[in-house]
Subunit: 680 residues, 2 copies
Amino acid sequence: MTKDPLVVFTPSGKRGRFPKGTRVLAAARSLGVDLDSVCGGRGICSKCQITPSYGDFPKHGVTVAKDALSEWNSVEQRYDEKRGLKPGRRLGCQATVQSDIVIDVPPESQVHKQVVRKAASTRQIEMAPATRLYYIEVEEPDMHVPTGDLERIERALETGWGITNVKMNLSVLSKIQRILRKADWKITVAVHKPHNSDQSTIITAFPGLHESGLFGLAIDLGSTTVAAHLTDLATGEVMASSGIMNPQIRFGEDLMSRVSYSMMNEGGDKEMTTAVREAIDTLARELADEAKIDIGQIMEMVFVCNPVMHHLLLGIDPVELGQAPFALATSDSVSINAQELGLTALLPSAQIYVLPCIAGHVGADAAAVALSEEPDKSEDLVLMVDVGTNAEILLGNTTRVLACSSPTGPAFEGAQISSGQRAAPGAIEAIAIDPITKEPRFRVIGCNLWSDHEGFAEATATTGITGICGSGIIEAVAEMRMAGLMDASGLIGSAEQTGTPRCLPDGRTHEYLIFDGTAEGGPRITVTQGDVRAIQLAKSALYAGARLLMDEMEVETVDRVVLAGAFGAHISPKHAMVLGMIPDVSLDKVTSAGNAAGTGARIALCNVDARARIEKLVREITKVETAIEPKFQEHFVAANAIPHKTAPYPELQKVVTLPDVGFGASNSGDGGNRRRRRRG
Amino acid sequence: MTKDPLVVFTPSGKRGRFPKGTRVLAAARSLGVDLDSVCGGRGICSKCQITPSYGDFPKHGVTVAKDALSEWNSVEQRYDEKRGLKPGRRLGCQATVQSDIVIDVPPESQVHKQVVRKAASTRQIEMAPATRLYYIEVEEPDMHVPTGDLERIERALETGWGITNVKMNLSVLSKIQRILRKADWKITVAVHKPHNSDQSTIITAFPGLHESGLFGLAIDLGSTTVAAHLTDLATGEVMASSGIMNPQIRFGEDLMSRVSYSMMNEGGDKEMTTAVREAIDTLARELADEAKIDIGQIMEMVFVCNPVMHHLLLGIDPVELGQAPFALATSDSVSINAQELGLTALLPSAQIYVLPCIAGHVGADAAAVALSEEPDKSEDLVLMVDVGTNAEILLGNTTRVLACSSPTGPAFEGAQISSGQRAAPGAIEAIAIDPITKEPRFRVIGCNLWSDHEGFAEATATTGITGICGSGIIEAVAEMRMAGLMDASGLIGSAEQTGTPRCLPDGRTHEYLIFDGTAEGGPRITVTQGDVRAIQLAKSALYAGARLLMDEMEVETVDRVVLAGAFGAHISPKHAMVLGMIPDVSLDKVTSAGNAAGTGARIALCNVDARARIEKLVREITKVETAIEPKFQEHFVAANAIPHKTAPYPELQKVVTLPDVGFGASNSGDGGNRRRRRRG
């Protein structure tokens, strides 16, 4: 007896012997090869295309004859005529195995395809969407055996696709009879299979064969901005992105003022909940319009956000998050649908997933950073910092991951800075101070030229030069330190002490003049002593948080630092290090992860297994609460000096020499607190 | 070594040996004895009260010493002082076993207590509510181990009660933090454990210990009336009952006219859905007010209804139910919550269960009758008839149950009858015609006197005599047949033929005058030939449906007949039999089940296992579709005669002798169809 033909699939390498006449799709399914199909092998969708290879394959020990697959059949011919098959391609559900064969599954025929991330890093997202399309042919009703249309749909899903335990929202049930009859009992259903339940949900149904067009929204719900990416759930492609202001801003600029608003105003939390849900509806509509899709094609949304935004999104009063012990109503992930969340623009049955929160101050956004940047898979000990009003800090490697939040305040975002402003056109975002002349040059958002280049004035005529944003103030303070305009304690020297008339008296202290636009009716942009103090407080808090995690990990140094967030994308590692925001590390070991939280949201949207993964990691993370760690205060005080009172920063010293200046009463550079300053 | 003490529980008879010092509650749980507890053995609820018995128990082989239980402890003393323990009672969670003991669990300490039905039958409902109260003491939040309040509630439920996989609706989550803190972390949660999923739901939470006060609504959603019973979920007691008109009546009196309304008016189904949901909200509010409970204490609702009401309740266009093949959108039971159903008066998380439908014409109301009357548990072959606009008919015994629906039309409800009216005060509901004098006497709704009794005129002065209701017209036609005023074909004789001036000409036919109130400005109430024809059509349809089921069962007779529904409660078996509405059977074998559908709803509300039971039975029932059975027409025609053209009715003949009269052209009594009548 001769052996059955051998079938080898690439790129997976999976192989097996199958009787002559076996359909390639059946062989693939039997071996667990990732070969897509929406129509279930009826030859009407194009998802299962494969490329047979012919000739000698010593690696596989196979020689493939020209007639190793069956000849084209009428279904393939019709498909090719109507829709066109690429040369060399076959339909896996039609071609049958005749003799030993090597079959390549091209990327577009794989469900679990790899998608290159658009962001800075080249890491890929593996597609494993929770929601997929299934074409079914439903039995017609029979008066002799009366069953409901839903029950016959369930039977078709079980028979054709092995899917059991499916529920259907009333909103879908109310439409299904019409769709079934309009489509002559041939429909495609979008089925959501969650990672945390064995019950699947039919989100919607389309008449006839519907091969593509399922979309999801990955939403980064920030205190200031709500950013959303409309993503194709089959390819992972981002079809449209948009961001709008979080309308809750009218109730309070920062998180704590919104918590206060809720505490002071009965029903205030409900107002904020309504506002943000309306904004999400608006955003969803805008993105659907922009991508020219029907909003009913949005099957899923994934949210990442900090704990206060998390509670307000879910309709929970955030009051407990404003006071110790910062108890979350729920820390686990939340799986609900659009109807439950009170969203009206989407299908009521659209599935919503909110990532878990790590702790009362370390939210689903930090979890998303962990999902995106995977500290738990790093052999190096990596410190990840996502800076906003609070800094979320992760430290870890394959052995253990720690997390904390540190109250940096809004200085890093340009708030509470005398000339500070949001990152918007006209804001100074980069600055350099000549160490000899002490003269500044700078760049503003909206113009690529430096201020000492030709054409700068013309190029900025429209926007003007309006203030200084978060990354600008950090660079300014670091540059002042490098140029010897400010000592290690953070004290700005006088014109005499520094040798530049730009250091001007400001009450009992001094300020450094960057730009004077008053002659043209513009602003006068300076860095005041108060600004420096605000930055010192913020950077000390950030450093102290990181240092606490290092204590807990029992290490003195880290191997690398990842700066996450929009902020991380704009500040230079050198300036951050000069300021002592982050622990000393070789500058080439400081990288930006871009919007890692947003990337984490996209990963959770495109890959349902990632949801289980981040939930497990969040449970395993060691949470450190900075507010109650006695050493936090100690680390905070020591971090007040620039870069640090005691930590040596040897890696920084290799690239930067900081002038040994001192402008206080004593040159000790031990923190320059207000009391000492008044004396000086 | 001496043996451990023997503990015998009554009435269950469960027994086992336990170490000295074992708490009675622990022993009961270990043996699976049904002993209630809300506080989990903390001695603060009174649910686990038991009665120890002392002395000789030869039946159990035990002699119980006076000190077989531990002495009263301080918890029992305090409880007795504050709330009072009945003499002889102990708290099962406090008393410990010292030596052999017999312990009685009184009915009020059992979860699965038996509740006597208030309706005619004495069958009991065993309590096994899906929703129960669990007292838990929740860990306080800890900044060092940050978990959400929900996660700590879940842990308390698992540790204290072994309940896992619990979800909490956002509406509860939004309140839970406040409740926990107000109650110092001691709360009672109402947990719904469904029969068809391993996921439980926390419906609501109460501060502190909350021992009772969970209610449910059993709703019989009829085309005309929506009836609801507010039921205590712990005791099964009906606290309040109320019925209101189904507001959908303004869109159409009967089912088919509502289906037509939906077909003719875009969005008409939505109007009717909104109307009935508002009515349910109103009914829930009224019942809560009447029983003086908070509407937030209503945890569950169970609905029984016909398929059209079912679809309109769920927001599904009933158009498919108006045409062959009468396909239901879903035939399975439906488990949702109040929010999903768009009810606003109740807690959003209140659980709703809609019984399964048997077929496109045989709804959840028929399933409820089956649940209540249990044809599948009958050794006798029982025929069950629930008459409305459609008659739902069940035939079965322990071997097999069959079901069908038969289109009787609304004549049995007094509609399409010349003097017909709804059952309301003033309507003739019973009538007797003297076989000698041919004079009628009657009773009207709202008065217990017969019309020939003294004081009848005064007693009915307020209501008047306004018309004739469903049970009245059936009795009238049957009495006319018995009095020889009408022949077997249904033809009413003339005054000459019958010997009474009450038989008056009416066009080419005759009518029988029951009451003439025209002198006082009242109505003239007659039974016309058209009325008789309408009743003949209705009763033929009913009989033919029953007969079809008997064919399918291959029987010529049934052992007993159960008349269900409000209608069944009012018509007399003898009259129904004279008319030939039901097959011949000994009159004492015809019983009324009262509102069996409503009882079925209450059973499903009080006993979650009953839901699984009826779902299984509905799947197993053989459905017979009268519309496509060729023999239906044959049976229908043969049943046109009164009582029947061919069936002998021997049991009826034992008690009634029908006059052998004939008023047509031929005396054949073979159906008297219109063609023949015109000739006659």
